[in-house]
């Protein structure tokens, strides 16, 4: 076990835990934002740099501070380590810089984007970003692409977190999708635009932190905050069958996997549950889903009005 102090809060975690996960154990405002790390996807993280923190004391044994800011999702704790996140001006400045970089080429088309209300980039910009931009050039754009019948790719909105690539690698039988090109012209591609066709491809939609990958069976049907998220399950031969159905009245508008308080999915669901099971009598509705996140979707407080309680 290692004792670690983050912004003055102390916690004890097993050896090998990352600073980010230690912070998540403490919870609250001191948890660094994570746009690319995803605990259930092996190898993810390290890329977006929003989770940078300052290690002010390396460990009990070697108390020297680390010279550079480190990615908290990649750096493991040492016994006696002290970390500054929101209490370090160096960190908050660097993070504001990262947010500016992430938004540089982003289209800011939230008013017409399906992800609005449950978008990590929106939350990040709201909490850590500046009101204006200093960028005065044309933004990079891409054509929209249909990845098969269920998924739409808006590359223009992508922040290249690579999560969907890890899903394609780790969840699906055979990767038909990856990243081509370099730098700010790099893009998600299904090579020769081959449709992703396997049982778990729909999960790329849930892991995508922005509106770059959206559900074609739900596009433009409703804003997410008008819907009523309900925990539901069914007997599914392919996946756990545990999902969230998003209802409007008696109708199911969309189906997603369940996300935890960090916005991460632990039980990935299959495409049959997600795209083809939209009649309420196919599901056992457990009750209203509590959305812990600060996004607009939690503003409805449906759980308080819900008929059935978990």
């Amino acid at each position: 076990m290692a004792k670690v102090t983050i912004d003055g809060f102390e916690t004890e975690v097993p050896d090998g835990t990352t600073i980010l996960n230690a912070a998540r154990q403490i919870g609250g405002d001191i948890v660094p934002p994570a746009m690319c790390y995803y605990s259930t996807l092996k190898g993810s993280g390290g890329k977006c740099r929003t989770c940078l923190v300052k290690v002010t004391k390396g460990s009990e044994k070697d108390p020297r501070p680390m010279p550079k800011l480190v990615a908290s999702c990649q750096t493991t704790v040492m016994d006696g380590m002290e970390v500054a996140n929101i209490t370090s001006e160096e960190v908050t400045k660097a993070r504001a810089g990262v947010v500016e970089f992430l938004l540089l080429n982003h289209p800011l088309d939230c008013p017409i984007c399906d992800q609005a209300g449950e978008c990590s980039l929106q939350d990040l910009a709201f909490e850590h970003g500046a009101a204006g931009t200093r960028y005065e050039f044309d933004r990079r754009t891409f054509e929209k692409i249909d990845i098969g019948p269920y998924i739409k790719l808006h590359m223009t909105r992508c922040i290249l977190c690579y999560r969907c690539v890890f899903v394609a690698n780790q969840l699906t039988d055979q990767r038909v999708h990856g990243i081509i090109g370099r730098g700010d012209h790099a893009e998600i591609s299904t090579y020769i635009e081959k449709a992703i066709e396997n049982d778990f491809s729909g999960n790329v939609i849930d892991v995508c932190p922005v509106g770059a990958l959206t559900d074609r069976t739900f596009r433009f049907k409703s804003r997410v905050w008008f819907l009523n998220p309900m925990d539901a399950h069914r007997d599914c031969p392919t996946c756990s069958g545990k999902a969230v159905v998003w209802m409007y009245g008696k109708e199911i508008y969309r189906v997603t996997a369940r996300k935890d308080q960090n916005g991460e999915v632990h039980d990935f669901i299959c495409n049959t549950c997600r795209f083809h099971t939209k009649s309420p009598d196919q599901w056992t509705i457990e009750g209203a889903r509590q959305i812990d996140r600060h996004s607009v979707i939690s503003q409805g407080h449906y759980s308080e009005n819900a008929q059935t309680v978990r």
């Binding site: 740099r49 990262v98 370099r182 730098g183």
Partner: protein, 448 residues
């Protein structure tokens, strides 16, 4: 005349063939190492020599070698980094083209020291013709018994392969190189783990520059102590310098570390002075990513001491008034050259070469290029100068690999030393489209 250890026989006709190379003492280091030394003894000689990595970072090679993990039953690899893509650096190309056997000899001796039975030369795709030169040399070495099974009856088996990249600067970064060698997209890995523990195919791996590996040959032949006698302090031995820009004699030179920068630029032995009798304006001493030096900090340090061609002296004064030896890409600018244009050019390169994994480098490099383009084309604003410095600062230190730093440093340094030139571009939009901002209007320190 300085001693030459690597390029001594570079001009001998036919030195690229096995017979001529062997006649001039080639493969002696393999004989010596395999017949009379243990692998650890070879590593010890390299440690004694004080050799530092010639790929840019200058990390002590002997120490790097001793970090290599040696778990039972797991193969180890040596990978030669011949990706050489840093603007201003072309020394590895010269060495491989002229004396390919020197690299191969170095690979055998070094692999013996590290206990690697298979090694790779990862060469940049644009050096397509050198692939054939190396492959021909490797064939000759196999035929002569220097490669293959049980070399010279020593029981040491060794195979060597050449692997061309597809042409990406980022594949020179050692972990991106390893990814590429494994057949994947050349994205740098997140460290730790370092290659010494988990490198190629997740096995312990050493990545060294072409010149570093070649230098092992004279070190084993003459002994590490003999090598360490050349040079000054922690900068031992000889270094290949790629000299380019507005000088009379551009080319690749092997110098003894410790030559003065003034001699290197003005002596006929090396650069032969500034072309057309012009004055020097600036110098990038170690490849495009190191900070640029203004004329008054090139031959003298800020403290007024003679600046020498060593790791320490070129870095004297830190980034405020110094630079780095880097990979030895020595670029000289005369009084007519425009620093803003040069900085734009470098920025365009780094934008093009960023792998795009991490947001500061992916987005920041493109942004800097666009702002610099606008400035160079008479559309800049005064606030752009601080904006550029701020973007560079937000990239630096916050990225996965050092390419982000390499993109930021030239911009910060150009603004630090040539701010008035950036301001001139903003104030004189028409003039900056018509001509470069040279030294013309600037007072020049006496004697430069």
């Amino acid at each position: 005349m300085g001693r030459k250890l690597l390029l001594e026989h570079a001009h001998v006709p036919g030195i690229n063939t096995y017979e001529v190379y062997r006649k001039h003492g080639g493969y002696r280091s393999v004989e010596k190492a395999l017949k009379s030394m243990t692998p650890d003894e070879v590593v010890e000689e390299v440690k004694k020599s004080g050799l530092r990595g010639r790929g840019g970072a200058g990390f002590p090679t002997g120490m790097k070698w001793s970090f290599l993990a040696k778990p039972e039953g797991v193969p180890r690899y040596l990978v030669c980094n011949a990706d050489e893509s840093e603007p201003g650096t072309f020394k590895d190309r010269y060495l491989m083209e002229k004396i390919p056997h020197l690299l191969i000899e170095g690979m055998i001796t070094s692999s013996y020291a590290l206990g690697a039975n298979t090694s790779y030369i990862y060469i940049r795709g644009e050096y397509s013709w050198i692939v054939f030169i190396l492959e021909k040399a490797i064939k000759e070495a196999y035929a002569a018994g220097w490669l293959g099974k049980n070399i010279m009856g020593s029981g040491f088996d060794f195979d060597l392969y050449v692997n061309p990249g597809a042409g990406a600067y980022i594949c020179g970064e050692e972990t991106a190189l390893i990814e590429s060698l494994e057949g994947k997209r050349g994205n740098p890995r997140i460290k730790p783990p370092f290659p010494a523990v988990k490198g190629l195919w997740q096995c312990p791996t050493v990545v060294n520059n072409v010149e570093t590996i070649a230098a092992v040959v004279p070190i084993v032949n003459d002994g590490g102590e003999e090598y360490a006698k050349i040079g000054i302090g922690k900068s031992t031995g000889t270094k290949l310098i790629s000299a380019s820009g507005n000088i009379n004699k551009p080319g690749v030179y092997e110098i003894e570390l410790g030559v003065s920068v003034e001699d290197f630029i003005y002596s006929d032995e090396w650069c032969g002075g500034i072309k057309n009798g012009k004055r020097i304006k600036a110098c990038v001493p170690g490849g495009s990513s190191v900070p640029i030096l203004p004329h008054f900090l090139i031959t003298k340090t800020a403290a007024g001491e003679n600046r020498l061609m060593t790791y320490e002296s070129l870095a004297d004064g830190g980034f405020a008034t110094g630079s780095m030896l880097g990979s030895g890409g020595f670029i000289v600018y005369d009084e007519d050259q425009c620093i803003v244009r040069n900085t734009f050019n470098f920025s365009r390169f780094y934008h093009h070469e960023s792998c795009g994994q991490c947001s500061p480098c992916r987005e920041g490099t493109g942004w800097m290029e666009k702002v610099l383009w606008r400035m160079e084309n008479g559309q800049g604003k005064m606030s752009d100068i601080d904006l550029l410095a701020d973007i560079a600062k937000k990239i630096e230190g916050n990225t996965i690999c050092p390419l982000g730093d390499a993109a930021a440093w030239p911009v910060s340094a150009a603004i630090r030393h040539f701010r008035e030139e950036f301001e001139w571009h903003v104030n004189e939009p028409k003039a900056c489209m018509e001509r470069n901002y040279g030294l013309v209007k600037e007072p020049v320190a006496a004697g430069v």
